[in-house]
């Protein structure tokens, strides 16, 4: 009874141990390299189709799990000298995937070592690719092409060194001027803005003067037009007056001259300031001198 119990217990424990060494659960996100006595013999789920419950030979085979997702790696900041000897500080990152886990295991062993190696690869590619471009091209003109070029270069060299990775993307995160060059840019920006400010002021002043000159012109035209019309109207009045008098006085020019002269005399001497020295011979004194008969 007791012996039988011990036997069963041992048997169960042995079965559990063997099972635990045989069955392996491979996650959707993983791939596995099966190592038999130090030799990577096969892989599981490197194509993404074998996730789930898997088996291996117990004890003689070990497994090493690798991520099969897209992995990020930030390259250390790198100072790049461009083709025009400008200096740029470049931050880049790479996204890669372990595509050949057996190669990856053979060449790099683990992700830590891989990170080191890939980072050096990225920096060296960037230096080379960006070194053949100008800062302007890197910053604006050809950034996308240059990133693509660096990506292809890293992929080629990774393949040549049998790293077992697929380069998914390589992107320049930042490409900036070093601090000392930045000052120069700030100065240039400031002076350009000052120029702009001066230009804006000058344009404002110009428009102001144009408006004032235009207004003065309009004033001159308005006033002179008014005087022109006024002259016309005044002339009409004078002309009508002349015509009216001519019609009226024309009937008897001699009487009109006499009548009008009388009016003019009265008007001229109306102020009473005149001292007249008269001769008794004048017409007015006809009776004064010669008596009632006037002869």
């Amino acid at each position: 009874m007791s012996n039988r119990l011990v036997f069963w217990l041992v048997a169960i424990v042995a079965a559990v141990v063997v099972a635990a060494n045989t069955f392996i659960i491979v996650d959707q996100r993983e791939q596995v390299v099966v190592v038999r006595l130090g030799d990577p013999v096969r892989t599981i789920n490197d194509k993404g189709t074998e996730a789930g419950l898997n088996m291996k030979a117990p004890f003689v085979e070990n497994i090493i799990r690798f991520d099969r997702r897209n992995i990020a790696l930030e390259a250390a900041q790198e100072e790049v000298i461009t083709s025009l000897q400008e200096r740029l500080v470049v931050d880049a990152f790479i996204r890669y995937r372990i595509s050949e886990p057996r190669q990856f295991y053979n060449t790099l062993r683990d992700e830590q070592i891989a990170a080191d190696r890939i980072e050096r690869l990225v920096n060296s590619s960037l230096r080379q690719v960006l070194g053949s471009a100008t800062a302007r091209e890197i910053i604006s003109g050809r950034r996308a092409q240059l990133m693509q070029q660096a990506k292809v270069d890293v992929a080629r060299r990774a393949k040549a060194s049998s790293l077992g990775i697929e380069v998914i993307d390589l992107r320049i995160r930042r490409a900036d001027l070093p601090a000392q060059n930045r000052e120069a840019v700030f100065r240039r920006m400031a002076t350009s803005r000052q120029q702009e400010a001066a230009r804006v002021r000058a344009v404002g002043e110009q428009q102001k003067r144009e408006i004032i000159a235009g207004a003065d012109k309009e004033v001159a035209i308005t006033l002179s037009t008014a005087r022109q019309t006024a002259g016309q109207v005044t002339g009409e009045g004078d002309a009508q007056r002349t015509r009216i008098f001519a019609q009226s006085y024309g009937r008897d020019a001699s009487f009109a001259a006499f009548f009008r002269s009388m009016q003019a005399y009265e008007q001229s001497f109306a102020d009473g300031q005149t001292t007249m020295v008269l001769s008794p011979d004048s017409a007015f004194f006809k009776y004064f001198q010669r008596g009632p008969s006037g002869r």
Binding site: S140, F186, A190, A197, Q207, A215, T222, F255, D271, V277
Partner: protein, 327 residues
Amino acid sequence: MFSGPGGVKPGALMLVGGGVVALWALSGFYIVQPSERGVVLTFGSYSRISGPGPNYRLPFPIERVEKVSVTSLRRTDVGGQAEGDAPKESLMLTGDEQIIDLDFSITWRVADPKAYLFSTRAPDEAIKAVAESAMREIVGKTPLQPIISTGRGQVQLQTADLMQRTLDSWRSGITIVEVQIRSANPPPEVVSAFREVNNAEQDAAGAINEANTYRNRVINEAKGDASKVLQASQGYREQTVRDAQGETARFNQIYAEYRRAPGVTRDRLYIESMERILARSNKVVIDAKGASAPIILPPDVFRSRVPVVAAPQIDARPPQAAGKAAQ
């Protein structure tokens, strides 16, 4: 099986065992929130996606479920959050080789939970790197002025688009909802120079306003003056004509009477006029006939008899009309 120690009945043992199995089986129930999707893995292998509500999976260790929030919007800030500025992230070069200080945020959500879980490691962290890379690429193609003024929307759209293309090329399962520029300014070192341009614009606008004010004033004044001149001339015309008509009417009347008795009237008019003139003047009557030496008059004779008392001017024309006619 074998009988348990201590004389426990096999029936009871079976009951306990059955209970444990039942509880184990029941542990497979789980609830997915409306904002979530459940991704079910069978021995680590993707099996299916479960929707919101109560769901069942085979109990551990056979099946597992990972829940992913799909409707909730997540936000990633670049270039300094509320806590403070991060110049390293926010200063970037523009297309016209200037430097801009730009902070922005990305709003994103998970569109494909399966891809989100299985294709990219640490996708949440990837967002920021991709965002920076994309924004700098777009800003690097755009001049500074539009970014700080009207071109902001364009930059946002282009960045979102570039981010989306990058993330799609990784099959990340992430959708960029929006890229929003929170602030885009010239760097602090040159802000005063930029402000100077604003001041200049204000000054220019002020100068133009001043000129327009002047313009409005002088033009309206000129119109008023012009109207005054015109009215005056019209007034003159009307007055001149009417005065002339008045005078000639009077003359005509007198002339009609004169024709009946010309001699008498002529004499009368002459004498009356002279009477009025001489009544108002100083007079010296000298009979110079036979005088051989110059006659010296005392200066008193030429002094006026102030005040002058004007005789009633029955025949006098209105002095005003006389003045106008003389013009």
